[in-house]
């Protein structure tokens, strides 16, 4: 028997060795943001003011507001590089969207796409409606390839810019863009912590819950209709709730006693993975959202938590302290094939699988005992530390295009929400008010 076990171990080790030798080719990975990726040079000529409001200042403000949002979206898309057209003597095209002769000169200077538009209050309606026209000139075909016309109330001015930016990304990549995505998060309100939702750029925040106690760790449904989160409605027990954003309707999904934390819906929405301690210590469970049947996924004396689905829904990464401090583990979605992923450091937690599948972001404790963001490839072959400096970084969450992460950090004192590119560049703070903003999760694209 002992001999047989030895043979088995030998075979397993041999296979492992083969695997190491074979997968040495790291070039099979696509970088989350490839360093060799050539961004498309795009210039925004401007959004002209037409029609109302009556005052010239009001007109200029409307156009420049849209322009400002559009430029920020274009920059954050990481698909385009924003060209400063002011040095090239470029003028906006005609009112009907005709290209200006100066565009050709810009094209010779390397500009691939030129965007301009006009916006103003609609004069033909009694309500204060805004209309916006946007035009796109493509240097390759030397023509205006198309445009958009939007209308709506003054409350959707930013959305007009976001939608136009996403159309640009869609035109050049076939992907929907992230300018209309949302971020759900937790914010301190009085003595309670409530769920909020804001635009991906930190604007237009809206309160979703108002329980006056703790609501934690929101997570989106794949169709963006629902949020699942941990609630303490009676202060003494935890439950996993779901809220429908359009209606505010709320359900309690799981209230099993003990911890009911870190809920995550699978990419197809058919399963909810979560951690509960109702059978003793924190274990992972899987709730079938159609049959409502519960399957236990882990059986272990350590605490298992923070499940995150692979994009295919076939695997989960999670945190577990079964071997001492928390470390990341992988397993199949049915709880089999458990294996440890992280070995660097004594504290690795809060994993989240990139929507492109090639990275897992998580919180790592550095040798200076600082809690920072790290990335690891799912085969464990590549690992990078993404953030540095002081402050506790927590709750990383990927943008649906896999190019950005949003996370919370106490780097500036109070916990606030930040965005960073997957290559560690362009750190940007996106919340500025309140005493505590945390647990951001990025919505899927629409």
């Amino acid at each position: 028997m002992t001999f047989r076990t030895g043979v088995i171990v030998g075979f397993c080790a041999l296979l492992g060795l083969m695997w190491i030798i074979e997968s040495g080719a790291a070039d099979v990975f696509l970088e989350a943001t490839r360093p060799d990726f050539q961004k498309i040079p795009l210039g925004v000529v401007g959004i002209d003011a037409v029609g109302g409001p009556e005052s010239p200042e009001g007109r200029a403000k409307l156009g420049s507001r849209i322009e400002e949002v559009l430029k920020a979206d274009v920059r954050r898309s990481l698909v385009f590089s924003l060209v400063d057209l002011s040095t090239l003597g470029i003028k906006a095209g005609g009112r009907g969207g005709e290209p200006d002769p100066s565009f050709k000169q810009a094209a010779e200077n390397g500009v691939s796409v030129i965007v301009w538009g006009k916006a103003g209050m609609k004069t033909d309606t009694k309500t204060s409606d805004v209309s916006m026209d946007g035009y796109v000139y493509d240097a390759g075909s030397d023509e205006v390839v198309g445009g958009k016309r939007y209308a709506g109330s003054t409350s959707v001015i930013r959305l007009m810019a976001h939608r136009f930016a996403d159309e640009l990304v869609f035109r050049y990549t076939g992907e929907p863009g992230i300018a209309r995505t949302k971020i759900a998060y937790v914010s301190q309100q009085g003595s309670g912590r409530e769920i909020f939702v804001m635009d991906y750029d930190g604007f237009e925040s809206r309160q979703i819950t108002a329980d006056g106690f703790l609501n934690l760790m929101p997570h989106w449904s794949p169709d963006r209709r629902f949020l699942v989160f941990t609630a303490y409605r009676n202060r003494n027990t935890q439950e996993i709730d779901m809220i429908e954003l359009a209606t505010g309707k709320r359900w309690t999904l799981v209230s099993q006693g003990g911890l009911n934390i870190t809920p995550a819906l699978s990419p197809d929405g058919h399963a909810l993975a979560y951690s509960s301690s109702h059978e003793g210590n924190a274990e992972l469970y899987r709730l079938d959202t159609r049959t409502k049947a519960v399957q236990r996924l882990t059986t272990n004396p350590g605490g298992d938590l923070s499940p995150s689905w692979s994009p295919s829904g076939r695997e989960l990464v999670f945190a577990s302290d079964r071997s001492g401090g928390p470390q990341l583990f992988l397993m199949s979605a049915d709880g089999t094939n458990v294996r440890r992923l992280t070995f660097d450091g004594d504290y690795n937690a809060a994993p989240t699988w990139s929507p492109r599948g090639n990275w897992i972001a998580y919180v790592c404790r550095t040798h200076k005992k600082e809690y920072k963001l790290c990335l690891i490839s799912p085969d464990g072959q590549k690992r990078v530390q993404l953030t540095t400096g002081h402050g506790v970084d927590d709750s990383p969450s990927w943008s649906p295009d896999g190019r950005h992460l949003v996370f919370s950090s106490t780097a500036d004192g109070k916990s606030q929400i930040y965005m960073i590119n997957a290559d560690g560049k362009d750190l940007e703070r996106i919340t500025f008010t309140g005493t505590h903003n945390s647990a951001p999760t990025w919505s899927p694209a629409s």
Partner: protein, 283 residues
Amino acid sequence: MRRHGLPRRDFLEGIDVNHPPLYVRGDILQEGIIPMKKLTASYLPLILGLLVAVTPACSKKAVQSGGDAQTLHGEMGKSGTAREGAGGGGGGVSPNFPDTAFSGRDGSNSLRGLDRDPSEERLSGDVGGNGGSGGNGGAGSSGNKLMAKSDPAAAARQLAEIRAEQVASTAAGLRDVFFGYDSFSITDEGRHALTSNAEWMKSNPNTQLKIEGHCDERGTSAYNLVLGEKRAKAVRNYLVELGVVPDHLSVVSYGKERPFCTEHAESCYSQNRRGHLVVRTGK
């Protein structure tokens, strides 16, 4: 981007005989990270052969190991059951909530593409759908609709109940238990505090006590909820050892979400790493 390969030694240490790396390989293939062509034809028969030969044995080993874990868990489970009884369970999994299955993107919100002669698209703010807005969240903006179906008195009621519990707990003279960094073991000082708390419980046998587990701000929100529960359970278990009726005790973890103080300094951290005992006054 800098590349960090795991040192080979570390990796070999990480191979668990219960979980053959064969599976690792299989999953990578499933995830489509390594293209099939990377598997050279010469390797394929060998790997397939080994798969057939080794998998059942490896699986068996895994099952045996799982059995051990099950036993250990059984012991853990026993210590957990006392809490269940006291926690006023009765919960479970709801049979009534809508199907969350993903049925494709919402067509009405999807992008329509650029058009040479664009027709007007009317946009409206809707947080659940394509989004947009309802004011910019600032003061005085119109149409900033609160999505929450809130009971306006909820926050006030919570606050009143918390105050009532604080008053009762202060009157009882219950003492908090403090923990070391990353630790949930009870110190000598903690044992003294709990001895005095247990005496009070025995002379007030009709009281329900809630043990709150708290953590300092370091570490992740999620893992601190697990750590907070471990602290609360350590306090509960010691009180039971001292003769307190388990049914009179319940535990709840607040992780790092309800700190006593918010300074980024050890003097504050040490106050936040605590088991806090509260006399339950409501239900």
